[in-house]
């Protein structure tokens, strides 16, 4: 008989694999195999700094690229023998999402190789650094930039890109732990914070060499109808998996899902460990539905970056985000947009509204008002941070979120340690 946990984990592999097969099939059907393959190749060789919407190159190519990038993540989890649960699922869904706007099969691999080298250097298994390896692919644009945007001959540019990505990957484990201490786990995209920090050095070096081009935005305003199918299919699959994962025990699913909403979500909270299996899937499905609703109301196009934002929210629905802790920070961004007179459909604002959920644990732990304030500050920061690292860090909101969380947590920490009643001197 298969042990219960193994059965649950198999269900996770099956569900994610099914969704990736759907993406591959739908992608190929949308544009036909020849165009899809051609676009996939173009995507590999296209600059991918923020903000490059791959669906503007080709719907099929973008969908297949996203599925393949996610497949790399799934393979890392499987072969490094770590559990496919909350954190690893968050990483895979994030990789999937950014496969629509920045991550490619080509630009992920050198970074992962660098993290692997670092693991070997520190006498650890790749499994120990598997999350850093997967999330670290946020620096993929550095690889592509060095390979294809400096206009060097390919014989020089390709090794340069590989070495650049490898070195960045090798440095990530050393930095990620240190950055975590700054915000104490209240910024869910900690590797994004780390990559932004590293990106500052990389972009500064490129600027110093006179090789840093300004950021450009490619934003598909007329996405292919096939892209509209992706989120409803994903939501349905997540909720159905949640139901099937209960082994027929449906009675307590609503109460388990409600219990999950009470968690603060502070890193590292693996929802598959915290509540009965099934509830995290439903939470992910509900977050997907809520995100879809937000996109529909705001009138935003369902293009690559928007899909990327939603999939990141969904992935972290197993590792820190709930409906309860997400809405205050999103409201903070909406209030910020209103105060500064920015339309919510503007790419930067819209993506901030989705990715600000990196700060959900602040709302989960300290309440609605603190969450709204954090969201507001986040919008102010995220409007500037992409330029600092030259768009090399795809998780720009993770970088801005890390700075915001560090500010908020430092102030709260100071208040807590200086305004307490229980002191020996009082």
């Amino acid at each position: 008989m298969i042990p219960m946990i193994e059965q649950h984990e198999r269900m996770r592999y099956l569900s994610i694999s099914l969704f990736l097969v759907f993406l591959l099939t739908a992608g190929i059907m949308a544009d036909g195999p020849v165009k899809t393959f051609g676009d996939l190749m173009t995507i590999q060789a296209t600059g991918s700094r923020l903000l490059q919407d791959f669906t503007a190159i080709g719907t099929g190519g973008a969908m297949v690229n996203a599925a393949l990038v996610a497949l790399i993540g799934l393979a890392v989890v499987y072969f490094s023998s770590v559990t496919l649960a909350g954190p690893t699922m968050a990483a895979i869904f994030t990789m999937l999402g950014f496969g629509f706007f920045g991550k490619t099969v080509l630009n992920c691999l050198p970074i992962m190789a660098g993290v692997w080298f670092s693991a070997r250097f520190a006498r650890k298994s790749l499994g120990s650094y598997s999350l850093i390896a997967m999330f670290g692919t946020a620096l993929g644009p550095l690889v592509t930039y060095l390979m294809f945007e400096l206009n060097y001959p390919l014989s020089l540019a390709i090794p340069l890109g590989i070495i650049g990505g490898f070195v960045a990957g090798a440095l990530l484990p050393a930095l990620a732990g240190a950055m975590l201490q700054l915000h104490q786990g209240y910024n869910l995209y900690n590797v994004g914070f780390t990559c932004g920090f590293l990106g500052l050095f990389a972009s500064s070096a490129l600027r110093m060499a006179g090789k840093m081009d300004p950021i450009t935005i490619t934003w598909n305003t007329h996405p292919h109808p096939t892209l509209l199918l992706i989120l409803p299919v994903a939501s349905a699959l997540l909720v159905i998996t949640g139901i099937l994962d209960r082994n027929g025990n449906m009675r307590t699913l609503p109460s388990d899902t409600l219990q999950l909403q009470k968690l603060s979500g502070r890193l590292p909270t693996d929802f598959f460990d915290a509540v009965e299996s099934g509830a995290p899937w439903v939470n992910m499905g509900l977050l997907a539905l809520a995100s879809m609703l937000f996109i529909m109301i705001s009138g935003a196009p369902c293009n690559g970056p928007v899909l990327g934002g939603v999939f990141t929210v969904v992935g972290f629905g197993a590792f820190g985000k709930t409906l309860r802790n997400c809405w205050p920070v999103v409201l903070g961004v909406c209030i910020g947009a209103w105060v500064f007179g920015k339309p919510i459909t503007e790419p930067g604002v819209l993506l901030a509204a989705l990715f600000v959920t990196t700060l959900a644990p602040i709302a989960g732990q300290f309440g609605i008002v603190t969450g709204v304030i954090a969201g507001f500050i986040h919008l102010i920061m995220v409007e500037s941070t992409a330029a600092w690292h030259g768009g090399l860090d795809l998780y720009n909101n993770g970088f801005a979120g890390g700075l915001t969380a560090t500010l908020v947590i430092s102030i709260l920490h100071w208040i807590r340690t200086n305004r307490t009643k229980e002191d020996f001197t009082s």
Binding site: I5, T83, G127, S128, G177, L180, G185, P268, H413
Partner: protein, 127 residues
């Protein structure tokens, strides 16, 4: 990871947890051997069976989680402002026992290399 840093983290997190109960007395005992170590924490506040179970579960996770232990485990012992999180150290140790004594709670942590076997630990003979 150096032993000193590792032990510091464990001691920091568990003592932070015990201090949340505002004990009047707390004792920490360390015994090191070549391939492992044993940490004991005592305080003067007994816990209910439900609390003991919750502590045991946090300190003895069902599965090894190297991806969490190595990366997020670094937070253990650093943040003493908010609730202690025993899970952070549960992923990093070999085994933990938790029980009420006559005066309070006793938490024992066993840690060491893969070859380390707590049952062969000589603390009982030496103490």
């Amino acid at each position: 990871m150096k032993r000193k840093e590792f032990l510091n983290r464990l001691i920091g997190e568990v003592s932070s947890f015990l201090l949340e109960g505002n004990p009047l007395r707390m004792v920490i005992s360390l015994h090191q051997e070549e391939d492992g170590a044993h940490l004991s924490f005592f305080d003067d506040r007994q816990r209910s069976e439900e609390e003991l179970k919750r502590i045991r579960n946090a300190l003895n996770p069902k599965h090894t989680r190297p991806e969490l232990a190595e990366y997020y485990g670094m937070m253990a012992g650093h943040d003493t402002s908010w609730d202690a999180r025993l899970k952070l150290i549960g992923w990093q140790i070999k085994q933990a026992t938790v029980q009420n004594t006559d005066s309070g709670v006793q938490i024992e942590l066993w840690l060491g290399s893969d070859s380390f076997n707590p049952s062969q630990f000589s603390i009982g003979e030496k103490s």
